[in-house]
C-alpha cells in the first residue's frame, strides 16, 4: 500500500528530519484498514486540526521570549493559523513547553496538561524542556518533560531561533496529519506508556512546630 505522506507547503517531504519515526507511526496507525469514507473524513478533520493548532501560553524562561518573537511581526505564526494563543488550557490544543521545568513547576505542568481538552499535543522547546539542558545536574530541575507528559515534538536549541520553532510546529502538523481521529488508533493509548509515577515521600522537612 502506498504510504500517505503528509504535505507541508514549501518544504518537500524528503527535506524534513526524522521521517523514519513518522513512517513508523504511519505504519502502526494503518495496521487496521479503515474504509474509504472514514479515511476521507479523517483527512478532512486532520486538515482542520493541523491548521488550527492553538497553543497554551506556557513560557517559563528564555525560550518563552523566543516564543513571543514567533508571535510578533517578523516571524508571525499567524500565517500558519497558530496565532490564537489561549491562556486557558481548556481552549488550547497544544502546550508549548518553553523553558526549564523545575520540581516545583512539575505538578503545575502536569495539571495544565490534564486540564486540556483532547486532542492535545505537547511540544518541548529548548534544551531545558527536552532534557534539563544546562541544568540537568541540578537538584531542582526535571530532566526532560517527557518524564511527566508525553511529548510529540522536540525542538532543540538553547533557545531555538524563531524559525526553528516554526519548523517544529510544521513537524507537529505532519504528525497530526497522519493520525486517525475516527476509528483508528490515536494517541489516547500513549498515556499508558508513561513511566509510573515517582514515589512520593511524605516526611516533613522542617522541624515540627513546638506547640504541638
Amino acid at each position: 500500500m502506498e504510504m500517505k505522506k503528509p504535505v507541508i507547503k514549501s518544504i518537500p517531504y524528503e527535506e524534513f528530519k526524522d521521517n523514519e519515526t513518522l513512517e513508523a507511526l504511519i505504519a502502526e496507525i494503518n495496521k487496521e484498514r479503515t474504509n474509504v469514507v472514514v479515511g476521507k473524513l479523517d483527512d478532512l478533520i486532520n486538515w482542520g486540526r493541523s491548521n488550527s493548532l492553538w497553543s497554551l501560553t506556557f513560557a517559563t524562561s528564555c525560550c518563552g521570549i523566543e516564543f513571543m518573537s514567533v508571535g510578533a511581526a517578523r516571524y508571525d505564526f499567524a500565517r500558519f493559523g497558530f496565532e490564537v494563543t489561549r491562556n486557558s488550557p481548556r481552549q488550547a490544543d497544544l502546550i508549548m513547553c518553553a523553558g526549564t521545568i523545575t520540581h516545583k513547576m512539575a505538578p503545575v505542568l502536569k495539571r495544565l496538561y490534564d486540564q486540556m481538552a483532547e486532542p492535545k499535543y505537547v511540544v518541548a522547546v529548548g534544551g531545558c524542556a527536552i532534557s534539563g539542558g544546562p541544568f540537568k545536574d541540578s537538584y531542582h530541575v526535571l530532566n526532560g518533560i517527557d518524564k511527566i507528559v508525553p511529548v510529540d515534538v522536540y525542538i532543540p536549541g538553547c533557545p531555538p531561533r524563531p524559525e526553528a520553532i516554526l519548523y517544529g510546529m510544521m513537524q507537529l502538523q505532519r504528525k497530526v496529519k497522519v493520525e486517525k481521529f475516527l476509528g483508528g488508533k490515536n494517541r489516547h493509548q500513549k498515556r499508558g506508556e508513561l513511566p509510573a509515577e515517582p514515589i512520593i515521600v511524605t516526611n516533613h522537612p522542617v522541624k515540627e512546630d513546638k506547640e504541638q
Binding site: T21, I130, S131, G157, R161, Y167, Q171
Partner: protein, 151 residues
C-alpha cells in the same frame, strides 16, 4: 499637551483625551498601509540569511575521504559543562613504528541537552568540531537528538 485655560476642566479633559486617542489612531493607520515586515519562513528557505556565527548544532567536518581531525584527546568532553559530549576511543597500533595510539571510535553528542556555550570548540586543539547554523532540527523522537558525529 496643554489646552490653556481649559486645563483640568471637564471639557479640557475630554479634548486632551480625544487628542491623545486620535494621535494613537493615526500611528496605527499609518502602519496599516506601510509594508509589512514579516519574513516568510519556510517559503524563503532558500534565500533567508542566518548569521554565520549562529549556533544551532555541533558538527564534525569530514574531508572527501571521510577523515576528521579529531585526535580523541577528550578535552571537549571535559570542557562541556553538562556532559553533552561523550567520546569512546579505541587503541590502534601503528604497524610500522609499533607505537599504539588512541583514536576516536564514536563521538556522541546530545543536541537535546547542548547549551551552545562553545567551550568544546574553544577547547579543541585541532579545530575538529564546529557549530553550524542549520537550525531545522525538530524531531519526534528524543533518541534522534543523540547523534554520532564522526562517520
Amino acid at each position: 499637551m496643554t489646552m490653556g485655560f481649559l486645563d483640568n476642566t471637564y471639557i479640557g479633559n475630554i479634548l486632551t483625551a480625544v487628542k491623545s486617542l486620535l494621535t494613537g489612531l493615526g500611528v496605527t493607520l499609518r502602519e496599516f498601509f506601510t509594508r509589512k515586515v514579516t519574513e516568510r519562513y519556510p517559503e524563503n528557505r532558500k534565500t533567508q540569511h542566518i548569521s554565520e556565527r549562529h549556533r544551532a548544532m555541533l558538527r564534525m567536518p569530514h574531508d572527501e575521504e571521510g577523515n576528521n581531525k579529531c585526535i580523541a584527546c577528550g578535552l571537549c568532553q571535559q570542557a562541556c559543562p553538562n556532559g553533552t559530549i561523550s567520546i569512546t576511543t579505541r587503541t590502534v597500533t601503528d604497524e610500522e613504528s609499533g607505537k599504539s595510539k588512541k583514536v576516536l571510535a564514536e563521538y556522541h553528542y546530545d543536541l537535546g541537552a547542548c547549551m551552545f556555550c562553545q567551550l568544546c570548540v574553544n577547547a579543541c586543539p585541532k579545530g575538529a568540531i564546529e557549530f553550524t547554523n542549520e537550525f531545522e532540527n525538530a524531531v519526534f523522537d528524543r533518541k534522534k537528538l543523540i547523534m554520532k558525529l564522526n562517520r
